[in-house]
Amino acid sequence: MKKRLVSKLLALTLAVSMLGSLAACGNSSSSGGDTTDKSQESAAKEEDAGSASEADAGAGEEETDTGTDTAAAPAFEERVALDVVAFVSDGEADGLRTDPVSKYIEDSLNIDLYLTHVTEADWPTQLSAMMADNDLPDIFMLSDPTKQLPMLLEANSVLNLSPYLEQYAPNTTSDPAGELMIAANTTTANSPDGNLYLWGMCKGSWDDGTIPTCGHYVRWDLYKEAGYPKLENFDEDMLDVMQAMVDLEPETADGQKTYGIGSWFGNGQDWGEWFFIYGMAPQEGASLIETTGLTLAISTVDSTPINSNQLTDPDGYFWRAVKFMNKANQRGLLDPDSFTQQSDVYEENLKAGKYMFNYPGWMTSNANAEFNKTEGNLKTFISIPAVGVDSEDRFGNMYRGERQYVVSAATENPERCVALLDFVSTHDFSRIAWNGLEGNFWNVEDGKAVPTDEYLTVTKDNALGVETGVNVYHHFCGYGNGTIDPEDGVAIDLYQFSQKALDTKMNDTVKDFCEHYGQASQADVYRAETKNTTAMNFISFGEPEGDMSSYVNELKAYRGKNVFNCVAAKTDEEFEAARDKMIEEMKANYHVDEIFEYFYNEALAQADTVEQLAAMQNAIK
């Protein structure tokens, strides 16, 4: 309070002195030298103030801790305001929301919910500054928990949630998936002292298996028309399949030339490398770990690290993915614009039908939706079952929660914060977050949630969100939309994955796909064709020690600067030379072996934790 007063006074004096100078009767009496002294002084003061308020925060935490022991009333009588920074829809201005779902939360918990919408892009810098300033919202999202949690802990600005769980988070502690999330977030990698700091949101999965986030999607209508050409291994056959499809449809409906595949290398490092990271490994039951600089891959079948450095192994997932792109490029199947276009243009091209093959699932569903606008459409991207291997990461498993939230240690209402997190983490609320309140777009019939006919025809946009609350909290709720609610066996998102919705999406192409594999539904095809389809990766890495993190950063920067040139190689020899040169360079100057060694051992050391978490996961099934 006092600090604020002082700062207000300071601002006022500043403004007055400035106005004074404008009126040209400045009467200040210090000299130029003094000014600098003053500014230094104020800087020093500020730091003092900073550490003082830190101490305050610490004290506050202790007080509230003891407070919990005595507090008994689970229902909250007093209405309080909470500041929440979350990944929510931006359909309304930041602050109090007017949609019915927001009202529902506020009435249920007796709070005023002030929401600030953030995205991944700017939030990290903002959060760091707010951390330094010790002025944090009550609940906020971490964009990079591995790095941010240690920082928050060092500054004592994050609340230990463990003491509040029993009393204020009854839903989560009694839900097996909730328990798994808590267990995972209290492992050594995610909590230095075994207390719960991170609260995972969006558990479960994003889809019902038909549109995995990263898959191998082909234009099934053309594949069928081509007479189901041989597709036994990915690296070679897929290129031939693409060629066959391009031959069948050399131009889109509006006359653009078609290609087998495209990409968004124009986005450059990291995001531009998406195709190499997610284009091959997940579809073959492995996960390339970005925090290891892509040196380490972990099997999603049994959560074991693969003992081969992916960046130096020419037959590893990374290089195979790069080589695949290069081959496509050599054969003229890769859209030449790939090298300079960014992801938004890519998506428009995909929607326009320019590509025969695609990796990212969310873009696929957008493209299919676009195709479906045409009456009697047969054009459809369908993800094919694993090719030539017996495992894939299809039925996603975000056991830790896809997004991590924390509570500020300085909050005045820690109980309410935990109660809010618990409230939005249930299956029931998740269904409301995705579909709105019961009775509007969906009803319960025979104990099962069923969407109304009207619901399946609406467009989910911001306006709808403001009116009905649909998709406002869908990234600030307990479960992803493809998760099955154990109570009624129906997926959370009725708009996309309820039986009724699936039936309307079933066109002749999808039917043909199911018939081709002799199954009744798409999901059945995948289960029947591939042995392991559920991701079981329970390894997570904390912030690496010593120079390791800077090694990883430098490796990433080098990789991102050079890998695209390999794709552009004109011949196999040229590609191999470029690749070998990169591998050599990474070995010589970028500590690539050291990095792999470090993370591989870290991963091995987690064997016990993995076993424990896997057991909990199996118990859910």
């Binding site: 601002a11 930041d94 600030t116 892009a121 243009v345 896809e402």
Partner: protein, 293 residues
């Protein structure tokens, strides 16, 4: 003589043609933005070069739907007008004082200002300073930090120094004080450079969004956001993207190219409306003789 004139008119024609051609490649993109803002995303992807294709007002509709748009326009105008005036007064007055040879330690003080162009403490300490003086969630954060800027001071000072010293000296002889000389002589004579500064400062203010994003936070900032920030939040979804964001981007609306075009068109228009009015100040020569007389 006649021959000579001819030669120059050829040079003139070439001059006109080159300038015209360059102007075309500068103006065409705006036309491109304009027609694309009325075209469907699919049409944009195929290329829209002359007139709108698959005409749609969708982008403008989407823009009008942005929450808090009306108040943000007001804030944008307020910060532009107040900020520009403040910058203009502070910088011109500082530059004038610095140009006075009687100022003790003149070089040193001048360097004190210039140095600020090169030192940058980084974002976090700047944020802490702003927060400590109470400018967070405060309208002043838009205008105060921009009030004194070394670059503008240098430009104005260079200009003032080109004004004949006799003018100032004779005014001093007549007993005019510093302030009086400033607004009776310096201000009127520096109109061209001041017009430049107005344009620079106003454009900076109008286009700024970063200060808004970082210093206007949470419920206390309600109603203080400016237009460019709101538009920026819509635009950036495609600019910087992370893998995690994209994975979760499933079911999140992505802003279309036409929306970007529409926004950009709407924000450029006010600048282009005001710009020609400022122009006459920096293109019309000042007759020193007239002032002297």
């Amino acid at each position: 003589m006649n021959k000579k004139k001819n030669k120059f008119s050829i040079a003139n024609i070439i001059n006109i043609l080159i300038l015209g051609a360059f102007t075309f490649i500068c103006v065409y993109p705006l036309w491109y933005i304009f027609i694309n803002s009325f075209s469907s995303p699919q049409a944009i992807n195929r290329g829209v070069y002359f007139v709108p294709q698959e005409f749609t007002l969708e982008a403008y509709k989407q823009m009008i739907d942005i929450p808090g748009l009306t108040s943000s326009i007001g804030i944008a105008f307020a910060r532009t007008i107040i900020g520009t005036l403040l910058t203009l007064i502070c910088c011109s007055f500082t530059a004038y004082l610095l140009s006075d040879r009687d100022l003790p330690k003149r070089k040193l003080i001048y360097r004190f200002f210039i140095l600020t162009m090169y030192i940058n403490a980084g974002f976090i300490p700047y944020y802490l300073t702003i927060s400590a003086i109470g400018l967070k969630n405060n309208f002043l954060v838009y205008v105060l930090p921009a009030a004194v800027q070394a670059y503008f001071i240098i430009l104005i000072k260079t200009y003032i120094e080109s004004i004949p010293a006799e003018l100032v000296e004779s005014a001093e002889m007549d007993g005019a004080g510093l302030i009086k000389i400033y607004y009776r002589i310096i201000l009127p004579l520096s109109k061209p450079i001041l017009a430049c500064i107005v344009v620079f400062a106003a454009v900076n203010q109008w286009n700024a969004w970063a200060d808004d994003m970082y210093f206007m936070q949470g419920r206390k900032a309600n109603g203080l956001h400016c237009l460019q920030y709101l538009l920026y939040t819509k635009l950036q979804s495609n600019v910087v993207n992370s893998t995690a964001g994209a994975a979760a981007g499933a079911n999140m609306a992505v802003s279309s190219n036409s929306l970007r075009m529409a926004m950009s068109f709407v924000t450029v228009i006010p600048i282009l409306c005001v710009y020609p009015y400022m122009q006459r100040f920096f293109t019309k020569g000042i007759m020193l003789g007239a002032v002297k007389g």
